[in-house]
Amino acid sequence: MKKVLALVLALMMLLTSAALAETVTLGATAPLTGSNQMTGGYYVNGMKMAVDEINAAGGILGRELALKVEDEGADQTTALNATVKLIEEGVPAIIGSYFSTNCMAVLGNVKDSGVVYYANGSNPDISAQQNPYVWQIRVTDNFTGPIMASVAVDTAKITNPAILYTTAASTTLLAERVMLKMEEMGYPVDQANVYGAPEEETNFNAIIAQIMASDVDGLMCMGVSEAWNVAFSQQLESAGFDLPKVGSLSFSSVAYISVAGSAAEEWITVAEWSADILGELDFEIAERAIEFEKKYEELYGIPSVSQAAWGYDCVYLFKEAAERAGSFDREAINAAMAQTDMQGAGNYYKIYDDTWHVMSTYTLANQNLGGIASPFAKVTFR
């Protein structure tokens, strides 16, 4: 009996290892629990869609692609632990967090292990560290800031704005870049009209009272979280603010718009992605973006958000790098990443000389109309 059991066990182990040998596992961290779990769900959906497409087309180098997602929760410690776990499991690459603070927290571990890391935060400090294994697909804040300022002046006709920003690192930097560009354009921002509020702030009425009492001709707002944006927008609407409003990426998200309701209307945003690309556009958009959105809506029954496009593109970036490398060795894939030249759903990715491993090429200007962020211009910044 014991011999039979041992034989069965050995056979199972053989079959399992044979199956595993046919699979390559791509790691990812996403907020599956906590306050960001909704956008985390979109992120994973985008990745899964890409994984299924790739496997349907024969996988990568003859192997089936598997996705292993670890929960990064809502704090850096959990994100770090999730990343370390994936590194120790031997995955060749990790699709990292879209929160810059989480990306920054894991850079040391990434460098020590040599794992290829797709950092989806927007803070330029991520790439400024010149970590050889970190690849940043987002439009970083040092590009977004000047674009926001240009859109505010040229489209919204704002020349004397009030500026409100979340006092997180990325939005503080974004606000600084906006003000710098406004000054370059000949519209210096009055510091008395610049306000900061922490991420956990929920009462903006005192700030709004000051904005309403000032002589500004518009508002520019840099928020990190949808909850912060919703609270501010609704209190702004209740106060009767009717001047032009320009917001950062999170003001264009489906989740923000659905919760904020009428308070989200008419916000102009600078965001890399809009789900409303299936309608008539005044500019050319990549066919791949349209295909992605059509398929996403067909599969999940709802429009996508930025995070879905980022997750999707990261999987394909890994696929193409692995195929160029001809192997799943971390160093080989990393070396192959330097030849990236790919039109993804969310952006065109290439290696540029002006930054270290920041691969994006364009962004979109949108306006929230009728419950969705509709793009009206594509801004190619390099």
């Binding site: 629990t33 306050s35 909704m38 006092t167 509020a197 700030i207 009272a209 609270a231 919760v259």
Partner: protein, 297 residues
């Protein structure tokens, strides 16, 4: 500063001060009754906001049905909170055990809210709307003030008056005060400390849940609403630890300081508030109102 801006900031400051005062009243009632500083006070306010939001929006309950149902829910939550964090630990050999339990309860409540109600902010419709269905406002020195703010101030005053009447004019209130001052003596004369403790917890959670309901329309309902308790703590200390009157005054001062601090220090208004707290601790540690009843020897 224009009169328009002053008026807006003043009303905002008084409104928030009243919310903090309701939180602080609950804190002091618990300290006086059972000697426990409740670190989950803000989370109870947050839960109150979520519960009333669920009744009003998910279940579309009319106000006349929603409020009594909410109060009953808060009372039951108060009993559950007492049985979970205080009653089993009241005779623990480690005296701070009930306080530590409230810290744990704070985490449980905040994570529980995310599990039960989701992580996304929820909006609560204003109680006072105009003909177009939008937030109703009135003009004060050229600035728009929401009627909701005035409602909060009036409701808070009413709640404070009712608590005062309960403790000063009702038999139940005197029983609760007696049990709070000297439990063994109260037990000896037939006052059930289980009853008085339970009644205190119910009162506190009803008070704080009601505060959550009042504040929900002007904020969005998120787990971060619990952070309001920090200002309430500050107001309690500034006003004079142990004095309800002092707590109300202290919280009003905190609300006004917070509102006017945004003029020059919008990013650091919390730092301004807590600097005021530190100054009070250094210069007048007994607070604005010194409590007339000291600890027994």
């Amino acid at each position: 500063m224009t009169i328009r801006l002053f008026a807006s900031l003043f009303v905002n400051g008084v409104t928030m001060g009243m919310i903090y005062a309701m939180i602080a009243m609950g804190l002091i009632l618990l300290i006086k009754a059972v000697g426990v500083l409740n670190f989950a006070q803000g989370d109870l306010l947050m839960i109150g906001a979520y519960i009333t939001c669920a009744f009003a929006t998910d279940l579309s309950m009319p106000l006349y049905a929603m409020l009594p149902t909410a109060f009953v829910s808060f009372a039951l939550l108060g009993v559950a909170f007492m049985l979970g964090t205080y009653w089993p630990l009241r005779k623990a050999s480690y005296p701070v055990a009930p306080i530590i339990a409230t810290m744990g309860a704070s985490l449980v409540l905040s994570e529980g809210a995310v599990i039960l109600f989701g992580s996304w902010p929820r909006t609560m419709p204003n109680l006072v709307k105009n003909a177009a269905g939008k937030v109703a406002t009135f003009n004060l020195f050229g600035t728009k003030i929401q009627y909701q703010y005035i409602l909060i101030i009036l409701a808070a005053c009413l709640a404070m008056y009712l608590v005062y009447m309960l403790f000063e004019r009702s038999y139940v209130g005197r029983m609760m005060q007696a049990a709070a001052q000297d439990k063994p003596a109260a037990e000896l004369i037939g006052i059930s400390t289980l009853f008085t403790t339970g009644a205190t917890y119910m009162l506190v959670v009803v008070l704080i849940g009601f505060a959550g309901y009042m504040v929900a329309p002007i904020y969005t309902v998120t787990p971060s609403l619990s952070s309001l308790q920090l200002r309430a703590f500050a107001g309690t200390v500034i006003g004079g630890f142990g004095s309800i009157k002092g707590a109300i005054l202290g919280c009003l001062l905190v609300g006004l300081t917070e509102a006017f601090a945004t003029v020059s220090f919008s990013s650091y208004k919390d730092a301004v508030v807590f600097t005021v707290l530190i100054l009070f601790l250094l210069l007048r540690p007994q607070g604005i109102v010194k409590s007339r009843i000291g600890d027994k020897a």
